[in-house]
Symmetry: C2
Subunit: 200 residues, 2 copies
DNA sequence: CGTCTATTTGAATGTACTCAAAAGCGGTGG
DNA sequence: CCACCGCTTTTGAGTACATTCAAATAGACG
């Protein structure tokens, strides 16, 4: 059950067997059916989740009721709202399952105390956070200076697997465009499929 | 010289006097004149900089030669390219001074070894990183589902001081719009200044 | 004062959205 | 097995948001 998780951590920092046992003893297992929620906007986030199987979306619903998808998360990634946990403020995001999911989760307060017992764990999360931060910086640049068509081509190149698993209108929401417009982009690209390959 | 830096760190984690002395002994001081570069796109980032005085921009220049400003940084903030340091890859960003600057900087490799001597330092940077990540998530949501006008109003409310210090065409670049269009937004808002206050 | 850079203005154009409707597609029940 | 239902995707017309290009003003600085 913990294989994927332990592998993911020890790829980044080396842990002793004792540390691995201590660490995994604090995780719990959870399954989630498609469309179920892990976190609802307005709640305070208490847990961080590691995905063994399945796919989830993190999204924000604004005052006008419009949904914006911040991210998709799949196997071998963490999901949760760091901001909410850290500040104790209600979360600005909801998280829900796009497929049936299998997760491991840990209480954020327990995690903080574990940092003291296993300092390398703090390093592991600092490094993950750094990667996530870098990726989001990249996405900002992409969003502010590329057209929707360029962003879509980037998306399917970067996440070819996700493109298969996720309905198109959600991809549109992630890209910040309407489903109608994404449909038109796809039609346009289909007529010159070379462009996608050439963009390598 | 180290007052601001030490204050900033000890606001987040408590350090002993010995730790403070050890830490500050590894920092160097640097001044930068307006328009000088701290890092050029393509270089590998070696240092993290803490800003004592002044203002800088982090930006990317794409193949077409268009500049996109990723962030502005001022007093009491860190600046540097974590991605470049972490991967050893050339940086995708340049950093340059918008005003004469006074900085403290530390070699990233030295910083990594200091983490082992002062574990709390790792916590400090993890927390900073978390805040930076959260802010960039927020900006993504803002960028994908708000119009340029809404983003501009958000910007001047969030960074009223920056608005004064930074030329308008750079604000436009940060917002991902043309300077001409920002000018038109400002004219429009000027006619109904209530909107800005009402958006509180 | 002149020069250089930043900002404003306007017209024409392109990019993306809204609204309405049609077509496609996967289940479910008769 | 087919008919129907609900949901996703596609299409098209009209509109709004944002850009480009060119030119006029305004500001900063030597």
């Amino acid at each position: 059950m913990f294989t994927l998780l332990v592998k993911h951590i020890t790829n980044v920092v080396s842990l002793s067997n004792e540390e691995i046992i201590l660490l995994t003893s604090h995780f719990k297992h959870k399954t989630l059916k498609k469309k179920q929620y892990l976190l609802e906007q307005g709640e305070v986030a208490r847990y961080e989740y590691f995905i063994i199987k399945g796919c989830l979306k993190t999204f924000n619903v604004n005052q006008a009721g419009e949904e914006s998808i911040l991210s998709f998360s799949t196997e071998n990634w963490w999901v949760g709202d760091l901001y909410s946990f850290w500040t104790g403020n209600p979360s600005s995001y909801s998280i829900s399952a796009l497929e049936d999911c299998e997760l491991l989760y840990i209480d954020n307060d327990v995690l903080e105390t574990l940092y003291l017992l296993i300092p390398k764990l703090e390093r592991y999360f600092r490094i993950l956070l750094k990667n996530a931060y870098v990726a989001s910086q990249r996405r900002i640049i992409l969003t502010i200076n590329q057209t929707a068509e360029e962003r879509y081509i980037d998306f399917i190149k970067r996440y070819p697997d996700l493109e298969q698993r996720i309905p198109q209108y959600m991809v549109a929401s992630y890209l910040g465009i309407t489903p109608e417009f994404l449909s038109k982009i796809r039609r346009k690209i289909a007529h010159k499929p070379v462009a996608v390959a050439a963009a390598e």
